[in-house]
């Protein structure tokens, strides 16, 4: 028996980008379960007479693995545990969402809950509830955002230029990494310099092997760290060459040098390593986050990191990723909320991953928005990349949310890119790290990414990095070098970052520096959301900044654009229009501002050309054309009807300045018509001519086939409505209700 013919609809669907994504059937045996697995333990805790946790989520102390052991010793508040563990899951979940329950009160209860308990609580929350809980529970009031700044060449000029551009756009943390480990110190130094161009205080890090990362931090070449990975099972922890104790020590080591640091975890890592122990991703992540707090970390990066697509492949995966962010907030820690891995080939789907969090707001909405082209992102493409910048700015504007970014003009970006590249060139020369030539520098300023650069010396960064490490170059040396080479402002800023490390205020949870160098953290800027009308709202200035995207146009902008075509048509008024007697006569009515302030239709055609075509078409079919200004209305039907009533034939054409046109007849009601060209942006010169012809044919009593509107699947209203509204407003402003129609004489100047 032959296969029945395939449905064409399914063939079309099969070509869609989402079909390229991999989707896994839920399989708890492999850990392929997002929010719950039948093998997740029942929440429980037993505390002995000495206040020690001797049983945790069904495991007795003797069987504790390293993760259980650490959480049991450091991660359960035994004073709170009896009360918190006795509360029904739903009661806790409600408190997390309820705006009238204080953030600190909920966080206090979370301190007494085991990983299994908290996982169950957040798994109860539906998407809208997760968003509300995130709005309330995130620790810092002001949202912020982190950028990835990397390139395939480890080009220091490009790194610095991209860092400065990112800061101009509003990013307050910049993360770089290396395709070649040996380049790390050079990348860190270039990023540090670029980050302090234009505005002060952006934090920088270089994500590499833990030991070297700490080393760079101690030298002051980075100002925070985040690649301190935690895992939910002992096997994966040990495979990653660490334990909770080595990581806890690392947390203290960073703090001992005054360096901000957060840990990294996130769903999928254990599944990818084949050691998920049949647990759900959410439960394992709940262990990681409990561990993070127990170790004394101030914050966690999770919810869409390297394993994000593993989570996204199973049912509920996207929800799990959002729930991970909330877990961090419930623990009272800074959330650096993922979105830094491209989770789908589908634009719709990847946007749908990011939007709920962006709307809710987070300490860092991205733990790495790719501020560079996707091909230059050495972490792999982020969920949003340089190519998506305008989409993100529009997203902020659409919802009036503060996503942390601001529109920046081309000249500002050019200036900071050049300044940053020059500063790096100067410091690399001054410190004898490398000689970077002007030709390359100029290419860097205008480059979108490394593909726009000439081939350079592939060993340059390596040599510079080796020199930095061998000679023990520190942030102080960099500041001095900047000062020596004429970059006093940047020198002050680099040194200011050194000073802040001595002060230590940015060791508190969720700390960033505002552009005034004020520390914004859980301590200085606590989230005070308590329902509508409370919590963070963009102030007037910030609101205006978010609104002012490059593509925004006002009526004045439109008029300026229109004025460029002014004068191609001269319209002279020749007195009140009277009814004609010639049976071949077709009257063309034009709208109030056509050829006065408005000169181009929405299709970009000069209004004079549209008129010329209509008149020529009327003539071709043996009609005579008379043009009349209908100054009393902007309604196209009325303009056409007014023209028709003046015409000897009883047939009129109406033409609005924006290009919409119709044929009317004197005995029809105003809102009726014989033919209508409604899609102004798509009306061509030929279509106006055809409309003129049909008007003349109708004047003779013919019944021609109507001119067809063009059809498009483009978002035609999105493209043109803003402009149409402005044109209608101008036409409306020019109209004088009650003004009689006037005969006009036309002459063309082209």
């Amino acid at each position: 028996m032959s296969e029945p013919p395939g449905l064409k609809r399914y063939a079309v669907l099969g070509q869609r980008a989402v079909s390229l994504d991999g989707f896994a059937a839920e399989d708890p045996e492999l850990g392929l379960a997002a929010l719950r697995s039948p093998h997740d333990p029942e929440p429980s805790v037993t505390i002995d007479g000495d206040g020690r946790v001797v049983e945790l989520d069904g495991t007795a102390a003797a069987d504790f693995d390293v993760v259980d052991s650490f959480i049991a010793r450091h991660g359960i508040d035994v004073q709170v545990a009896p009360e918190a563990m006795a509360m029904p899951d739903a009661d806790v979940a409600r408190l997390a969402v309820d705006p009238s329950a204080g953030r600190a009160d909920v966080a206090r209860l979370a301190r007494g809950m085991t990983p299994a308990k908290l996982a169950r609580v957040v798994a109860m929350l539906r998407p809208a509830e997760l968003m509300l809980a995130i709005s309330k529970m995130r620790v810092r009031r002001t949202p912020s955002i982190q950028a990835h700044v990397t390139n395939r060449l480890d080009d220091p000029l490009l790194l610095a230029a991209d860092a400065a551009a990112a800061v101009a756009l509003g990013f307050r943390e910049l993360e770089t990494t290396v395709p070649v480990l040996g380049d790390a110190a050079s990348n860190a130094l270039a990023l540090l310099i670029g980050s302090q161009v234009g505005r002060p205080g952006a934090l920088t890090q270089c994500s590499i092997e833990e030991g070297l990362e700490l080393d760079l931090g101690m030298r002051g070449l980075t100002t925070y760290a985040e690649t301190v990975s935690l895992y939910g099972t002992e096997q994966v922890f040990v495979d990653g060459d660490d334990t909770p104790w080595s990581k806890a020590f690392l947390c203290s080591a960073y703090a001992s040098r005054g360096l901000k640091m957060r840990v990294t975890s996130g769903a999928g890592a254990e599944v990818l390593m084949g050691a998920a122990e049949r647990r759900s991703m959410l439960y394992l992540e709940s262990r990681c986050v409990a561990l993070a707090r127990a170790a004394g970390a101030q914050g966690v990066q999770n919810g869409g990191i390297d394993g994000a697509s593993v989570a996204a492949s199973v049912p509920g995966g996207m929800r799990e990723l959002l729930a991970e962010n909330l877990l961090v907030m419930l623990h009272g820690l800074e959330s650096c909320s993922g979105n830094d891995t491209l989770v789908s080939e589908s634009d719709l789907r990847r946007a749908a991953h990011t939007v709920p969090l962006a709307l809710a707001g987070s300490d860092f909405i991205f733990s790495g928005f790719g501020s560079v082209p996707a091909y230059d992102n050495m972490f792999g493409p982020s969920n949003f990349n340089a190519e998506d910048l305008d989409d993100y700015l529009v997203l902020q504007r659409d919802w009036e949310i503060d996503g942390g970014l601001r529109p920046a003009g081309e000249s500002e970006i050019r200036n900071v890119r050049e300044r940053a590249a020059r500063a790096v060139q100067a410091v690399y020369r001054d410190l004898k790290l490398a000689d970077l030539d002007d030709g390359r520098l100029q290419a860097v300023v205008t480059a979108h990414g490394s593909q726009d650069l000439p081939d350079g010396d592939p060993l340059l960064a390596l040599g510079a990095a080796a020199a930095i490490l061998d000679r023990g170059i520190t942030a102080v040396d960099v500041a001095a070098s900047l000062a020596r080479t004429g970059f006093a402002e940047e020198a002050e800023r680099v040194l200011a970052m050194v000073r802040e490390r001595v002060k230590g205020d940015y060791l508190q949870p969720a700390a960033i520096f505002g552009e005034d160098m004020r520390v914004l953290s859980k301590v200085t800027d606590p989230n005070d959301y308590r329902g509508p009308g409370t919590g963070y709202l963009p102030g007037e200035r910030r609101r205006a900044e978010i609104a002012a995207i490059r593509q925004q146009r006002s009526v004045a902008d439109l008029l300026a654009e229109q004025a460029r075509a002014a004068g191609h048509l001269v319209i002279e008024e020749a007195g009140p229009a009277r009814a004609g007697a010639d049976a071949r006569e077709v009257v063309v009515g034009i709208s109030p501002a056509l050829g006065r302030e408005l000169w181009l239709t929405l299709s970009g055609l000069p209004v004079g050309e549209a008129l010329r075509q209509v008149i020529a078409g009327i003539g071709e079919e043996g009609g005579t054309a008379r043009v009349v200004r209908v100054g009393s209305t902007i309604d196209l039907g009325l303009i056409g009807l007014t023209a028709a009533r003046l015409a000897g034939s009883g047939i009129g054409v109406g033409l609005q300045a924006k290009g919409t046109a119709l044929i009317h007849r004197r005995d029809l009601p105003p809102l009726a018509n014989l033919e209508l060209l409604s899609m102004a942006p798509l009306i061509t010169a030929d279509m106006y001519r055809d409309l003129g012809r049909n008007a003349a044919r109708r004047a003779r009593g013919g019944r021609p086939a109507p001119v067809r509107n063009a059809y498009t699947t483009e978002a035609i209203t999105a493209r043109y409505h803003a402009r149409a509204v402005a044109m209608v407003a101008v036409d409306r402003r020019a109209s004088r209700p009650g003004a009689p129609p006037v005969d006009v004489r036309l002459s063309w100047r082209d």
Partner: protein
């Protein structure tokens, strides 16, 4: 009150002129343990006692040289150290006025022994 660096230099005197004159020593730009303890108190008051504890451990490490801190971290990685080696590190830390860090290392040694993560 002006915060002082490890060397005692006030933070406000971490200035470019000093950097250019080569007067800024590493200890002039390192955080002082007292500052870390003060930050620990702030964390404690703001509902982050584990962060506070971490900052108190950090205060102990603030006085140790970079290389020693890096070495202890390496020793705490899985299967890098014997029980005796970890005990020796703990003893050294305790003697160097770092009792919290010493306790952390001892605790690690106990758990590593049970979970077979010693060298």
């Amino acid at each position: 009150m002006d915060v002082r660096a490890l060397s005692g230099r006030p933070a406000s005197e971490i200035r470019l002129e000093a950097a250019l004159a080569g007067e800024l020593e590493p200890a002039d730009v390192r955080i002082h343990p007292d500052t870390l303890r003060a930050q620990a108190d702030v964390a404690q008051r703001h509902g982050n006692p584990e962060l506070a504890e971490n900052l108190r451990r950090a205060a102990e490490l603030a006085l140790l040289p970079d290389a020693e801190v890096l070495a202890i971290y390496a020793a705490l990685r899985p299967r890098r150290s014997s029980r005796a080696e970890l005990d020796a590190i703990a003893a050294r830390l305790a003697a160097a006025g770092a009792p919290r860090c010493a306790a952390l290392v001892r605790e690690a040694a106990d758990v590593y022994e049970r979970r077979r993560l010693l060298r």
